[in-house]
């Protein structure tokens, strides 16, 4: 525990110092990056060690003479800690060059300060072991991330994003607090202890409340509205951390509550799974419709949270129906996907950050052909895309494979769980296909083809500190994808912390599965090598010439003729138009020789639309009705006093 606290302390210290020395910009940046990465490294080693040979650790501090702030690290916490520290480490290194052309040392200092607070509070959230410590660190996390979202507050868009995020996170926290309040109300203690004598209806209520609360942080479908606004607004290394790990704390919260409740009912499973399916499919559909690369990635976070929830839902169903194998497969898959998603999503955000940093635009249809200039960025981005599509031999496939196995194993269990697993499997398949479509769009339009605007022409990549993390993360994608054994073991350690009273989970079947994955991946590599060999043989001493693309007989092709992202996704969006109404805007072409016209399309997020109509408007209406109260007439004011007394006298 000591090592953990010292690492968080180092991180905070780094942030504080960079704020102190903010005037000397360079110096403060160096200090910040050094301290942050050092602290993260320390914490990472600690957490990994705790995972590989499981050993719980806890600490508790007296607080205000009346309460305790207690922290505890078990398998689950350690797993999330690993993800948090790993990604934060990479982001910290990445930020060194990313922040270079920021004006104003103060702003940089502030950014690093809140960045460090964010990392530390995330680490504390996943280790908190009672209500007080959890809520304090939770709110600190929300607060620091809010400041990072409105970091560049000059644009109205970002301000809106910040406001949305602020409100959502606070309301979510209130829901969480309500759930904790119910827990305290029945146990009378602040500690996270398994709840024995609590009526089951209350347990379900607690789960639902906390699911809404944590879901609003994780970006589960109806509560994800803030997410696609906030993540693009933040600087890219922050987006990487937020989208990579911060939203996962919501998942952690759900798991932790599930563990505390210690109540295995399929209802939890159904709720989680259905929420997962909806967020998964809609998330990727909306992502397909985006024109802003960071918004697109943000929506993919919604999708991946959906996949994670599907896994957890399967696990809960398995646990409830007494199928250890299903339960463990589902949970392990979901939890492993947490790690995987944090790896490839932060990688993708870093790539997007590099593109933004070098071209100055986030609009997909303004880019093109970057792969020629940005070899490393492009390659790592493509690897990330393959991973997020869940394709072998990359890490996304491993977790999805586990979830698939779990869902299939859940088929014979019972009629409802049959429907559920069919639901899960089909939606996973559809999600996979859509994700593939979406990322072929991104890769194809952003990195391939010809540059569509001036901004994208002859772009180079530079900044070693930005490329190294991307390389490491890409390597991680491949390693986890090919040799998942050790990571699966980590996930299993985490699963044991859920207290599914199966005792020690039998590792053999999982060892077998991971073995198969490794084998298949290697086999595929071998085949690829062979085919490459054949190809090279046939190309030996052959003449390959370069020329323009075959324009199918058209002789003056221009870059404007390229297929745009919007048109690429158009037909698919049409198919989903019920869930994703597409609003287009283009003036009709007039005259025989039309000169100039434009086309603009926007995919409406139905959750966002309905949030306005269902929540905001009624509230305003209700409170407007009450506004006459303050009418300024003193006679009636005195009347209120009299009224209050008269009414109260009735109750004596």
């Amino acid at each position: 525990m000591c090592q953990f606290f010292s690492s968080t302390f180092i991180i905070l210290l780094g942030g504080f110092l960079s704020l102190v020395f903010a005037r000397q910009k360079k110096f403060s940046k160096v200090i910040a990056v050094l301290f942050l990465s050092g602290g993260c490294l320390l914490g990472l080693l600690d957490a990994a060690a705790k995972l590989l040979n499981p050993a719980g650790a806890s600490a508790s501090f007296r607080y205000l003479d009346l309460f305790f702030l207690s922290f505890h690290v078990d398998g689950l916490s350690a797993f999330f800690l690993t993800a948090i520290f790993a990604v934060s480490l990479m982001a910290a290194i990445y930020s060194f060059h990313y922040m270079e052309n920021e004006e104003g040392g103060i702003k940089t200092g502030v950014n690093y300060f809140f960045f460090s607070v964010l990392i530390a509070s995330m680490a504390l959230v996943v280790t908190a072991a009672n209500i007080l410590s959890f809520m304090i660190s939770w709110e600190m996390m929300s607060l620091s991330s809010f400041f990072l979202v409105i970091y560049s507050h000059e644009s109205a868009e970002n301000r809106k994003a910040g406001y949305l995020y602020f409100v959502f996170t606070h309301v979510g926290a209130m829901f969480v607090l309500a759930a904790f309040g119910l827990i305290y109300g029945h146990t009378g203690s602040f500690e996270f202890a398994p709840m024995a004598g609590v009526p089951e209806a209350v347990k379900i209520l607690i789960f639902v409340l906390s699911f809404i609360g944590f879901g609003s942080k994780a970006g589960v479908f109806p509560f994800h509205v803030w997410l696609p606004h906030a993540h693009p607004a933040a600087p890219s290394h922050i987006s990487a951390v937020m989208s990579g790990v911060m939203i996962k704390t919501g998942i952690y919260g759900i798991l932790r509550i599930y563990a505390i409740l210690d109540f295995h009912t399929p209802v939890f499973g159904y709720i989680t799974l259905i929420a997962g399916v909806i967020s998964g499919i809609l998330g990727v559909v909306y992502a397909l419709g985006q024109h802003d690369i960071k918004r697109l990635l943000a929506y993919h976070s919604v999708e991946n949270i959906g996949i994670i929830l599907i896994g957890l839902g399967i696990g809960m169903i398995g646990a409830a129906t007494g199928n250890p194998l299903v339960a463990v497969l589902g949970f392990a898959g979901g939890i492993l996907h947490v790690l995987n998603h944090s790896v490839f999503k932060s990688l993708l955000f870093m790539g997007a950050g590099m593109v933004l940093h070098q071209t100055g635009t986030r609009s997909i249809d303004a880019l093109g052909g970057l792969l020629k200039g940005m070899k490393i960025t492009g390659t790592t981005f493509i690897i990330g895309s393959l991973a997020i599509c869940g394709l072998p031999p990359f890490n996304g496939f491993v977790s999805e494979f586990f979830i698939y196995m779990g869902s299939f194993k859940a088929i014979p269990v019972g009629s409802i769980s049959f429907a559920m697993s069919v639901f899960a499997i089909i939606s996973l398949a559809v999600i996979g296909g859509l994700a593939l479509a979406c990322f072929t769009k991104v890769v194809g339009v952003v990195f391939q083809g010809e540059p569509r605007t001036k901004a994208a022409e002859n772009v180079k990549e530079n900044g070693l500190a930005m490329m190294v993390p991307m390389g490491c993360l890409a390597a991680a994608c491949v390693i986890i994808g090919v040799f998942p054994k050790v990571f699966i073991d980590m996930a299993l350690t985490a699963v044991q912390a859920l207290g599914l009273d199966y005792g020690r989970v039998p590792v053999e079947p999982f060892g077998q599965i991971t073995g198969n994955i490794t084998f298949a991946a290697l086999l595929f590599f071998v085949v690829v090598l062979i085919v490459m060999g054949i190809r090279s043989i046939y190309y030996k001493n052959k003449t390959t010439t370069k020329s323009g693309t075959w324009g199918c007989g058209f002789t003056q092709p221009t870059v404007k003729m390229q297929y745009t992202g919007s048109s690429y996704a158009g037909s698919i969006l049409e198919f989903f138009s019920a869930a994703a109404p597409l609003s287009e805007e283009h003036p009709p072409i007039k005259g025989r020789f039309p000169l100039k016209t434009h086309y603009h399309s926007h995919v409406n997020d139905i959750a966002e639309l309905h949030m306005k109509n269902v929540v905001v408007r009624p509230v305003f209406y209700l409170f407007d009705k009450l506004r006459w109260m303050q009418h300024g007439d003193i006679h009636l004011y005195i009347g209120y006093i009299l009224l209050a007394i008269v009414l109260l006298l009735f109750f004596i």
């Binding site: 506004r627 300024g632 007439d633 003193i634 006679h635 009636l636 005195i638 009299l642």
Partner: protein, 214 residues
Amino acid sequence: MMFNPVDIILSFVLLSVLFSFGTDRVLILIKLLGFQGVVISIIPFFIGHDMSTGGTVFTLATLVIRGFIIPLSIFVAIRKGAIRRVVEPIVGYHASILCGLAVIIGATYISGRLDFGSVSGFKLLEPTAIALLVTGMFLLMARRNAIAMVIGYIMMENGIYLVGSGLSVGTRHIVEFGILLDVLAGVMIMAVILRNIKQTFDDVDTALLRTLKD
């Protein structure tokens, strides 16, 4: 006992209450105020408190303040800025008089219900007190003229004082004197405000004071 001076003067007070409902003149209200002040402050002489020298002195002081200083201060305020001396009613005069009757009956009824009677031997004491309270409230809520409202406030205070002395709450005179001083200071300040209002709006119609709202 046959001849009970307290109840007789209290009945006069009740009459004055009725008057204050009906009148449209600020000056009359002020006079009524003075009368009520005098009456209620001599009540303690009749209720069997220990009339030590301190008590006597204090009671006289009360009489002076309630009966003369307070009404005079308001009168002065009016004089200073010759304020139109009609109370603009929100509730009409006839209606007000009916309200007054209703108030008196109600007060008697209520005081019958809650038996203060056991404390002091006078039947009219509590009805009068309650009547004064409610009248004050009424004037505060039903008169647009700022002065009338201040007068209403003072009547309310008188009522409370009457209740206090009626219930013979064994407080020290010094404390009661403090209360009295507070009331006096309050009235003074209100008078000052009245003058300021008069100077800025050259009217004391509270309809002008409705700008601050949401």
